[in-house]
Amino acid sequence: MSLRRAGLALLRQQGAPLVESLSATTQQAQGAVREAVEGCSRGVSTLAVKQRMKSVGNIQKITKAMKMVAASKMRSATAATENSRGIVQPFLRMLGDMPDTQGAKAVFVPVTSDKGLCGGINSTVCKYTRATVKAVRDGAAAADSGEAAPEMMLVVMGEKGRAQLQRDMRDNIYGTVADTNKVKITFPEASAIAEELLKTEYDTARILYNRFVSAINQKPTIATVLSPDALERAAAEGGAMDSYELEGPDRPEMLMDLAEFQLAATLYNSMMENNCSEQSSRMSAMENSTKNAGEMLGKLTLTYNRTRQASITTELIEIISGATALAG
C-alpha cells in the first residue's frame, strides 16, 4: 500500500510528462511482445511465455495461501456457529417459522460478506432477496385484502450485497450495515443492529443468509421474525404458540420482549452462519483456482518446452545441412 502511494506522490511531483512517457513505454513494450509473438521470433516468444508462467505461479501461491487462511478461519467459525444455533432453535420450536405472513411493512435483511473472492454465496443471497421481495409483493396482490400494497424495505448487511442490490433496488433500501465481522461477532453487536431494525417498525422481518451445512455445502435460508402484533395475529390463527399457556398479566408485553429478543437472536445466528459459509465457500473457491492455475502452468510449461525443443531441432538441422553441403 505504501509503495503504491509513494508511486502516486512521485507522479504528482513530476506531473503529466512522466505519465505520458510511461504510457508510451508501455505501448512500446506491448508492441514488441505482439511482434515477437506474431513473428515467432524465438527468444522473445519464449520470454513472453516464461513471464506468463511466472505470474501464473505467483497467483497459484496467493490462492493457496488464501485457502489456508480461509480453512483455519472456518474451523473456529464452525464451532461458534454451532454454539449459536442453540439460541434460535427454541424460538423455531415455540413460534414456528412463518415465511408467508403478510404485513403492512415488510423488511428484508440480506446478510452478505464484506469481502469478495468467496464463490457465489453473495449472488445467491441477492437472487433470493429479489425473488422473495417479488413473491411477497405478488402474494399481497393475490390476497387482495383491500389494504394498500405492503411497503418493502431493505436493510442490507455487507458491502457485497449493497453493491449488487443498489443497482436495481436502490429505492427500497432503508439502510446498510457493514464491517460487522471486523471484530468477532458478539451478541451485543447483533442487538445493536437489531435495535436499528426495530426503528423501521416492521410487521415482518425476513433475514436472508447462507446456512452453513458442511464445508462444501451452504444453503440459502430465510428466517422470518414477526412483530408483536403479527405474532398475536398468527397465534390467533392457530400458530404453534397456541399450545403454550402464558402466565402472568402482561401477555402483550411479554410478546413484545419475546419478539425483540427473537430478532436479535435470529440476527446473531444468521450473521454467524453467513460468516462460516463465507469462509468455507472461499476455501473451496480458492482450492479450485489453485487447481486451475496448476493446470494452466502445466500447459504453459508444455508450450514453453515444445518451442524450445523446436528451435533446437531447427538449429541442428541447419548445422547438419550446412555441414552436408560443405562435404558435398
Binding site: 439502510g175 450495515v177 471486523k182 471484530v183 458478539t186 451485543p188 453487536e189 443492529i193 402483550p252 408485553e253
Partner: protein, 76 residues
C-alpha cells in the same frame, strides 16, 4: 404500548427496549466477575459496525458504532 402501560416494567417506561435492558444487565454481570474470567467475558461485549441510512436511493451519513476502545479494525 399496550393497555397494561401502567403496570409496565420501569425500564420500558424509561424508553428502553428489552434488548438494551437485557444487554445492560449482561454487562453488569460481566463487570461483577473476577479477573481471569472477567477479561475473557469482556471480549464478548465489544461492538463494531458501521451503518448508513438511505434516503431517496442515496446513502446518507455513515455512522460507526465502536466500543472496542480504538482497536477496531486492527483485530480481525
Amino acid at each position: 404500548m399496550s393497555s397494561s402501560a401502567a403496570a409496565s416494567a420501569y425500564w420500558r417506561v424509561a424508553g428502553m427496549t428489552y434488548l438494551k435492558y437485557s444487554n445492560l444487565c449482561a454487562d453488569m454481570v460481566r463487570a461483577a466477575l473476577k479477573e481471569p474470567a472477567k477479561a475473557k467475558a469482556k471480549a464478548r461485549e465489544i461492538i463494531y459496525f458501521r451503518q448508513a441510512l438511505w434516503k431517496d436511493g442515496q446513502p446518507q451519513k455513515q455512522v460507526i458504532t465502536d466500543t472496542t476502545g480504538g482497536s477496531g479494525g486492527k483485530l480481525s
